[in-house]
């Protein structure tokens, strides 16, 4: 008989009005990397919260066996003691503390009456070396990139006794090189007998990394298969329960030869006067999807937050909208000019999580639901209902706080909020980060509809297939400059990556503005 590190049998979990998990079975063999796939809202997080004791024993039905032994976790502490560690998407590190302090926070080394700092730093260095992370243990965590922080979090878990490591979307914010370190780390752990549960929307990673895959859909287990028996398409089909004709529903559409946005010699400086964007020029046409590719940190978000009037530092250069010069100093100016900016960090910059769906949706377009300067509640609800229906939003009620919704639905609300303003230029910053395949597909469809109506879309994306799949034209940025431009037909992963990593403009580059 096979030995299972973990078996979850007949798990059923109810929330008021919703059955989140319905008789789910989840078995993980010892020492394997087991991917858990499913759309947002399929029940992955709930299942992991049950496993880690966030939902204590007694609040769900079913049983959990670790190494064949029945366990009943009443708290997170108990699951940790049993050797289960979860790395969440939202990091749990103390930014003001050093790497070493974070690594051993709550560790026995820190519990002695007098802390031996030399020993802690030496120990930390040993761990970092072992993983192959080139980080000084005395750096403050807040000074590291998100990707490095994520790796620190994993190392932190390893410093404790860990048999089962759960990673929830670990690579969502990682750069290519950090992803590589992570992949090596996981392979290394597997050879040491650590069992790993890997939750990810990036199926490419799942295919190259996992030994087995379990797929959840609507709170039910659909299948558990060894990776050899699966293809990416099969996983997608099982996740969404239907065939996706194509991943990127790009439809050829007419692009009008009117420059809706023209940026000339644009430079941006941060608050300390450091130049983050260097002399950038580009234009966007009516009905065009312009992709912005590049590595994280290339300055794409800074460029567009600055164009939108939300960046704190200075800027120079000319911005023309519909051929007319503009002077955008604050987001309100940008909104007046017909710009909309959907941020990459929707929880931080896009939504007021405690507010309900209606109020979030109408926040930028309140004047459209006001009569004589007074908010017309009925009109407000009606407008929200109309737009969210177009977005195919799934929510318990329009009065639900947006914080309770899944990432995909939250993103649809951010989109609704901006579309209510009828923007001429829609800037989408990583529009599909951390959301599931089905919702991604719907967002692409919405983009298609918008360009057909003549909206110009700028899509910043770090995922090459997405940029190549949806854009009419692609600009590549590296270290604050535009380093390449490709028409849809010309773009290949290789030449985009070459420009993104700062290589010289490739031969294929055409200047076409």
């Amino acid at each position: 008989m096979e030995t299972f590190a973990l078996q979850m049998k007949g798990i059923t979990k109810d929330f008021p009005g919703v059955r989140a998990l319905d008789n789910v079975t989840f078995s993980v063999r010892k020492g394997e990397i087991h991917a858990l796939c499913g759309e947002n809202g399929a029940g992955k997080s709930t299942l992991m919260k049950i496993l880690s004791g966030v939902y204590p024993h007694g609040t769900y039905e079913g049983q959990i066996l670790i190494n064949g032994k029945k366990v009943q976790f009443k708290s997170i502490k108990e699951s940790q003691d049993a050797g289960i560690a979860i790395i969440y998407q939202e990091l749990a590190l103390v930014g003001e503390m050093t790497v070493a302090e974070n690594l051993f926070l709550g560790h026995d080394l820190m519990r002695s009456k007098i802390i031996n700092w030399n020993k802690i730093y030496a120990e930390a260095q040993k761990w970092l070396d072992q993983i192959g992370l080139d980080i000084d243990p005395e750096t403050k965590v807040k000074d590291l990139t998100v990707g490095k922080q994520q790796l620190i979090e994993i190392v932190k878990a390893l410093t404790k006794k860990v048999d089962i490591l759960i990673l929830d979307e670990p690579t969502a914010a990682l750069t290519e090189s950090d992803v590589e370190i992570l992949m090596n780390l996981l392979h290394d752990l597997r050879s040491k007998g650590v069992t790993c549960i890997y939750i990810s929307h990036k199926l490419g990673e799942v295919m190259s990394l996992a030994d087995s895959v379990t797929i959840l859909r609507d709170g039910k287990t659909i299948s558990t298969d060894s990776i050899e028996n699966l293809t990416e398409d099969m996983i997608i089909t099982k996740m969404v329960g239907r065939e996706l004709t194509e991943l990127f529903p790009y439809e050829p559409h007419p692009i009008r030869n009117e420059k809706i946005l023209e940026v000339k010699n644009y430079s941006v400086f941060d608050e300390n006067g450091k130049q983050v964007i260097q002399d950038v020029s580009f234009s966007l046409k009516k009905g065009e999807i312009l992709g912005f590719s590049g590595l994280i940190g290339a300055g794409r978000s800074e460029l567009f937050i600055s164009l939108f009037g939300g960046f704190k530092g200075k800027k120079t250069g000319t911005v023309l909208i519909d051929g007319k010069p503009t002077n955008i100093q604050k987001p309100a100016d940008a909104i007046k000019e017909g710009l909309a900016y959907v941020s990459e960090d929707r929880k931080r910059y896009g939504l007021v999580l405690g507010m309900d769906i209606t109020k979030n949706t109408t926040l930028t377009a309140l004047n459209k639901v006001m009569k004589l300067k007074v908010i017309d509640e009925a009109l407000e609800i009606k407008s929200t209902e109309d737009i969210t229906k177009k977005m195919n939003l799934k929510a318990p009620s329009l009065e639900a706080a947006v914080g309770q919704l899944s990432g995909g639905n939250q993103q649809k609300i951010v989109l609704s909020k901006w579309l209510l303003n009828d923007p001429k230029i829609l800037i989408l910053d990583e529009p599909t980060r951390g959301i599931d395949v089905g919702a991604k597909y719907e967002i692409y469809k919405i983009m298609n509809d918008l360009v057909k109506q003549g909206v110009g879309i700028i899509m910043i994306s770090s995922e090459l297939p997405e940029v190549m799949g949806m854009s009419d034209r692609i600009l590549v940025m590296s270290e604050g400059r535009i380093t390449g431009e490709f028409l849809r037909e010309e773009a290949t992963q290789e030449n985009i990556m070459r420009c993104a990593t700062g290589g010289k403009k490739s031969v294929q580059t055409t200047i076409n503005s």
Binding site: P16, G17, D218, R242, I305, F308, G310, K330, P331, A332, A334, I335, Y341, S343, R348, Y349, G350, L351, V352, L353, G354, M355, K359, L363, T364, L366, N367, M370, K373, V374, I375, E377, A378, L379, I381, K382, E385, T388, K389, N392, L393, K394, A395, P396, S397, L398, E399, A400, K417, G438
Partner: protein
């Protein structure tokens, strides 16, 4: 296809559960209030619920209630104002100085007190919004500065007496007949407003609560209004300070629910960064919140000086804490983004009830502090644990 499920369908299925839950939360406050009333009635042999005492109670709560209305806006916006007690003292003191020492008319001194309050609010709001100094620090400074100015201006003296008309503001009553007329008018408005709202939602094809629920609410409110009016009319009538509180509450409940300014305050307090990127002018809105708080402190200062018929250097001492406590008991979150003016009013009533009830029972003052402190902690604990 199951994923085509529209929001409306889901709405209908789940709305019941959600609205019930929301109601339950606002009911806890009511239940607490009723409980306190029952306890005090028993211990005071019914004296607590007598017409005379209700009249006193509503008058006593008025100063804190006015402050609590403004404080709700400040806290919802994610800030705090520790200076309002001193500002009440200062504006009330200035009103007294202008009238007693310089012979200004009642109308002018009331106007002056409110304007000076608003200007000092503007001063503090400028530091908070445009100079990014934390409100806690700015208003802690204001608390000292304003008290200092008051002591300096009044030369440490008690300033009295006020003119007859000024005294009327805090000590007079709406006579019997106008009181009932006012009650009836507000009931008619309530009914009319409910009908209009229902028909409007119906025209837009939106869901409307069952008629029994809506009109049941109207009936309960109407009975409550009539009962209060009846009780107060059995004494001298509706106290004018209570009318002022009611009027200000209606205005600010309207502002917070129905205007862009109100909505923006909740958005700023809920997530300032998202609000900024949504095109909301954070600084100007915060500035206005402090101006309003200052103006309301002026109103409270006038009420206090009028009720006491004098201005003292200690007037309004610690009122900021009572106002903050009223908001918090009423469900306002100190994290910002969440809170209701109506809740703060009930909170103010609860705080006033404790003072009032314990006074009738002849319990020593120190107990009032202890009990109020404990109730504050328990109220927040209930709020936090009900969310889990």
């Amino acid at each position: 296809m199951s994923r085509q499920l529209s929001t409306v369908n889901v709405n209908e299925q789940r709305n019941k559960g959600i609205s019930f839950k929301l109601d339950l939360q606002s009911y806890t406050l009511m239940i607490a209030l009723v409980l306190i009333a029952v306890i005090f009635s028993i211990f005071t042999g019914g004296e607590y619920l007598s017409s005379r005492n209700l009249s006193n109670l509503f008058t006593q709560m008025s100063v804190i209630a006015v402050l609590a209305v403004g404080m709700t806006l400040v806290i919802v916006a994610g800030h705090i104002d520790l200076s309002v007690g001193s500002l009440v003292g200062l504006t009330g003191g200035i009103a007294a100085i202008l009238q007693v020492w310089h012979g200004w008319s009642t109308f002018s001194v009331v106007f002056a007190a409110i304007i000076i309050g608003a200007i000092l609010g503007l001063w503090q709001g400028w530091w908070v919004a445009y100079r990014a100094v934390p409100a806690f620090i700015v208003t802690l400074g204001g608390m000292l500065v304003f008290r200092g100015i008051l002591i300096g201006l009044s030369k440490g003296q008690t300033i009295a007496p006020m003119s007859e008309s000024f005294k009327q503001i805090g000590n007079s009553y709406l006579p019997y007949v106008p009181g009932y007329i006012l009650a009836l008018v507000s009931i008619v408005i309530l009914v009319f407003w409910t009908i209009r709202n229902r028909s409007k939602r119906m025209n837009m094809g939106l869901m409307i609560p069952a008629a029994t629920v809506d009109y049941g609410k109207v009936a309960v409110y109407s009975i409550f209004i009539l009962l209060i009016t009846y009780m107060l009319n059995r004494y001298y009538g509706i106290p004018v300070p209570f009318l002022i509180v009611a009027l200000l509450s209606i205005i600010f409940i309207f502002i917070s629910n129905k205007t862009a300014f109100g909505r923006y305050i909740y958005a700023i307090g809920g997530n300032q960064e998202a609000a900024a990127l949504s095109g909301i002018n954070i600084k100007r809105n915060i500035l206005w919140v402090f101006i309003i708080m200052g103006g309301l402190s002026g109103v409270a200062g006038v009420l206090l000086t009028s009720r006491l018929n004098a201005a003292t250097v200690n007037a309004g001492n610690m009122y900021e804490l009572d106002a903050i406590a009223a908001c918090v008991i009423g469900g306002t979150s100190l994290m910002g983004g969440k809170g209701k003016i109506f809740g703060a009013l009930i909170g103010a009533l609860i705080m006033a009830s404790i003072d009032n009830g314990m006074s009738i029972m002849n319990i020593e003052t120190f107990w009032q502090y202890i009990v109020k402190g404990l109730i504050l902690i328990i109220a927040v604990w209930i709020d936090i644990s009900s969310k889990k």
